[in-house]
């Protein structure tokens, strides 16, 4: 069932709530946004073409006034985990048919599963922005911090990277990529100064532009080398700026990977924050890292700890603007690579211009995760890319869908979507499709579509 066809009630009109409402409205969805803060409500009314209520979102009466009885989904995104969870439980008691999604930031409440949070009784899905962001940062680190990496399962991923001046890819047309020895990848989208597009054989890869390349995980180093994104050197000494939620999770994951000898190549981890309490907690939690309580840009501190000689800076503090500034400054001082946690993908361009190698948007991953749940059972994952212009959608082909059992060349719609990968029913691994590949019911496909174009998703995931 596609829940976006029915009313969606969103409690909490913060950045994520507004972004989610905007995405749903753009798809023609019926959205009611609830918040008790007059300023946020006023701001939302100016931004969104949907119903916005100023009321207590955790009150059942408010939810009934908002039309919970006829709603398809409830998404709770207030700042308070307990409010989010209890509101879902209340609705479960009175309207069990409504899909309930809660944002949970406290790690103690969040049960991590293989693909996001595990359901808690009364809540169908939990989403945790910090975990999603930390995972994205760690994926980027494990691939040399050359670009954002989305892992799709089945041994494939999408790496989003900039094409450096003078690199092997710079100036090539897509059809010429076949001339590169051992090239087994596919360009999902391309972005240049003129704008972004779903590529065709004639699309040029300009130096300084960005591309999203679908390839097997093993081929990511080759793609990065061809685009000259990253230097291929191991990231031995890593400094993490910010001991808050995301920074702490990144450190935990790096330590676990190091203990499991997962080959990240990280030998020394320095965690820097100016908050004494956070530093003390971090030092107590991790015996294998060094925790510094200091202003990271303090000149004396940088010299004492040879910060400029670090291989990688991960700026993951709660102040996303500062993350960009610190990343840019430390790169200028000699740090080889940098990853910055940003508020949203709108700041990706700014980050790139400041010299940041990888920008990880904190909020977008949550919105993507919620959208994937709202789009029904057939949609497994949604990843917004290219400044929210495109979506990478992982979905199962429904039995009786209009595209089922047809070869790809018959169902292709150039400029509207691209079928990037297919995993045939009963198989474990994805493969790159050809024109003769048949898209049978039960197969899992990875598509790139224009953001908000839910028709294509319904084409594959819905019945004719």
């Amino acid at each position: 069932m596609d829940f976006t066809k029915k009313r969606t009630i969103i409690v909490g009109a913060g950045f994520t709530g507004i972004q989610l409402a905007r995405n749903l409205v753009a798809e023609g969805g019926d959205v009611t946004l609830i918040d008790n803060d007059a300023e946020k409500v006023s701001h939302s009314r100016n931004l969104l073409d949907c119903a916005v209520m100023q009321a207590e979102g955790n009150s059942l009466k408010t939810l009934e006034d908002a039309g919970i009885a006829s709603a398809g989904a409830l998404v709770t995104l207030t700042e308070d985990d307990e409010t989010n969870m209890i509101t879902c439980s209340l609705v479960e008691a009175t309207h069990p048919g409504v899909l309930k999604i809660a944002r949970v930031r406290n790690a103690a409440y969040y049960l991590s599963g293989p693909s996001g949070g595990l359901p808690i009784p009364g809540i169908d899905h939990t989403v945790n922005p910090d975990v999603e962001a930390a995972d994205a940062i760690c994926r980027a680190i494990s691939h040399g911090a050359g670009g954002n990496v989305i892992e799709l399962g089945g041994g494939f991923g999408i790496v989003s990277l900039s094409i450096a001046e003078g690199s092997a890819l710079a100036g090539l047309r897509l059809r010429d990529l076949r001339t590169i020895p051992d090239w087994r990848s596919l360009v999902a989208y391309a972005e240049s100064a003129d704008g972004a597009s779903l590529p065709s054989g004639e699309t040029m890869l300009p130096a300084g532009g960005r591309v999203g390349v679908v390839c097997s995980i093993a081929d990511i180093p080759q793609v990065m080398r061809l685009a000259a994104a990253g230097d291929g050197e191991p990231l031995s000494r890593v400094v993490v700026f910010g001991a808050g939620r995301v920074g702490a999770l990144v450190v935990d994951r790096l330590c676990s990977a190091r203990q499991a000898n997962a080959g990240t190549g990280v030998n020394e981890i320095l965690l820097v924050d100016s908050n004494e309490e956070l530093c003390r907690e971090a030092a107590e939690r991790n015996a294998d890292i060094r925790v510094m309580c200091a202003e990271i840009t303090d000149e004396d501190f940088m010299q004492e700890e040879r910060i400029s000689e670090c291989d990688l800076l991960v700026a993951a503090s709660g102040n996303c603007d500062r993350n960009l500034v610190v990343s840019s400054y430390l790169k200028s001082r000699g740090v080889r690579r940098s990853i910055a946690l940003t508020e949203s993908s709108e700041l990706d361009d700014v980050g790139r211009k400041l010299g940041v190698d990888v920008a990880v948007p904190l909020r977008d991953a949550v919105v993507d995760s919620i959208m994937s749940h709202l789009r029904g059972r057939n949609v497994r994952a949604v990843h917004t890319v290219c400044n929210r212009l495109f979506e990478i959608v992982e979905c199962d082909v429904a039995a009786g869908s209009r595209v089922a059992d047809k070869p790809l060349r018959e169902i292709s719609r150039p400029g509207e979507y691209l079928l990037l990968l297919i995993r045939h029913a009963g198989e474990e691994v994805f493969e790159l499709p050809g024109g003769d590949t048949t898209v049978e019911a039960g197969a899992r496909v990875v598509l790139v579509v224009r953001a908000g174009d839910s028709r294509i998703i319904r084409l594959f995931g819905g019945k004719a």
Partner: protein, 487 residues
């Protein structure tokens, strides 16, 4: 003293009195009738007193919550009482020249010091020798722990009593209920004692000697039935068994409980155990090499291992006179006097965990000089945030050394030379037994003045109860006395 406190005190003394049955049985079997009466009289008297007390009216206050102060005063008082009570049969048996000597021997026994006033113990009645060794065994794990395990007194405050008696800077229950903790500790203790008795018998000792030496070893005491201690047996197997059990007795008994519960990872992570092993092996290597200058390497290893284990566990058994060893070996032995065993063991001394905490803090302080912005946390057994133990360990060592200096000063006033006075003080407070100089392993404490023997009794009790219990008892007593005199 309040009514419930008297009941607890009577239970502790009654428990010690009950244990006199064993030496009484030996005395009866061997026809040592004077000794038999010496044991029977105090036992009967104490039981009558206990019975009278327990049958008398039960006031409401006995259900009162035991305060921290009560617990310290009660445990300090109980240990003083059992020291005196244990001395009565020794004195009545007629083998000790004075009550002071009998008291010194009794306190030395219960506190597991093992310093004797007698030069010749081989001609003592067997029942007296058994009692001397039994005092080690009872005092080693703690009589109060035994009482909490077996007698359902009050039902509350038991853990406070155990905390005031057991060793180490941190006290924790190994099971949810305090009586179960006490039972578990005593069961492990009993099992180890039985195992050692059996092994010593298999190694060639007689049953009686095996039992006596097992009591002495597990309590890390040091009384022997022979004048030349373990050296008299000239049996390498006996020495090996006793060396192993001295080491086992100086480890934290909670570790054995964890081992039996299958929590082996926790044992591997135990910081104190690791440091203990490191110190033991390092000391053994240095002493063995130093002694190898004067004897064959195999003999050096044999004597060095025994003596290092004996001093580090604060047992005080001897197979050779370490005061005649190479100066390097002697200095290592002297250092071991200051270290002691592990917390939660029957050993005395400052305890390895306190040195571990201070050493870790020193490393943190040095690293902080190089990295002024780095945040350090002190980890013990893998657990962070243990900085709170640093001031506890530092103040304990300060108190320990202060008491040692005062005790050494009293020793000097009594005419002891400086080496004897200082090493004697450390030996008393650390519950080791032998010292250096005139109080070396070949000598005894019979010749020191009576007043010093009384002070040494206090020092031994203070050392066994880790200073604070006795300090509080003395403080309370002084306050009561001054309050009474001012009225």
């Amino acid at each position: 003293m309040s009514f419930p406190a008297l009941r607890i005190l009577s239970a502790v003394v009654g428990m010690v009195a009950a244990s006199l049955i064993l030496p009484m049985a030996v005395a009866a079997r061997d026809g040592e009738w004077r000794s038999f009466l010496a044991f029977a009289a105090p036992m009967a008297a104490s039981w009558l007193a206990v019975l009278a007390l327990w049958l008398s009216k039960r006031s409401r206050s006995e259900k009162a919550e035991m305060t921290v102060r009560h617990a310290f005063v009660l445990v300090g008082g109980a240990w003083t009482a059992i020291g005196v009570f244990g001395a009565i049969p020794l004195w009545l048996s007629g083998v000790f020249p004075s009550f002071t000597d009998a008291l010194f021997e009794s306190v030395s026994g219960f506190t597991t010091t093992g310093a004797s006033v007698l030069g010749d113990v081989e001609n003592l009645p067997r029942s007296v020798n058994l009692w001397r060794c039994m005092t080690h065994w009872l005092g080693g794990m703690g009589v109060v722990v035994l009482v909490v395990a077996l007698v359902p007194i009050l039902g509350v405050g038991g853990f406070r009593l155990i905390k005031a008696e057991t060793t180490g800077p941190e006290k924790s229950k190994i099971t949810a209920r305090v009586a179960e903790t006490a039972k578990a500790l005593w069961s492990i203790y009993l099992a180890l004692t039985m195992a050692e008795t059996l092994l010593l018998r298999l190694a060639g000792m007689e049953w009686f000697d095996s039992l006596c030496h097992a009591f002495s070893t597990l309590g890390t005491g040091g009384f022997s039935t022979r004048n030349d201690s373990i050296g008299a047996f000239s049996n390498a197997w006996v020495e090996i068994v006793i060396t192993v059990f001295m080491v086992l007795a100086s480890l934290n008994f909670a570790l054995y409980y964890r081992a039996l519960s299958g929590r082996l990872r926790e044992i591997a992570r135990d910081s104190e155990l690791r440091v203990f092993a490191t110190i033991f092996v390092s000391a053994l290597l240095v002493v063995t090499v130093a002694n190898a200058c004067n004897m064959p390497l195999a003999a050096s290893l044999r004597y060095s291992a025994f003596q290092v284990a004996s001093i580090m566990s604060t047992t005080g058994f001897g197979t050779s006179d370490y005061t005649e060893w190479h100066p390097v070996a002697k200095s290592v032995i002297l250092c071991l006097f200051f270290i002691g065993g592990c917390s939660g063991s029957t050993a005395g001394g400052i305890k390895v965990v306190r040195w571990t905490v201070l050493a870790k803090q020193l490393v943190c302080d040095l690293r902080r000089l190089l990295h002024p912005h780095e945040v350090f946390t002190l980890r013990l057994n893998g657990e962070p945030g243990r900085e709170k133990l640093v001031p506890l360990a530092a103040s304990f060592i300060f108190a320990y050394l202060s008491l040692a200096i005062v005790t050494a000063f009293f020793g000097a006033m009594a005419g002891l030379d400086i080496t004897t006075a200082f090493s004697g003080a450390i030996s008393m407070i650390g519950n080791v037994g032998p010292a250096f100089g005139d109080l070396g392993p070949s000598a005894n404490y019979g010749s020191i003045p009576a007043a010093l023997k009384w002070w040494y009794c206090f020092a031994m009790l203070a050392g066994r109860l880790e200073l604070y219990t006795m300090f509080i008892l003395v403080g309370v007593a002084i306050r009561r006395m001054t309050a009474r005199s001012s009225k």
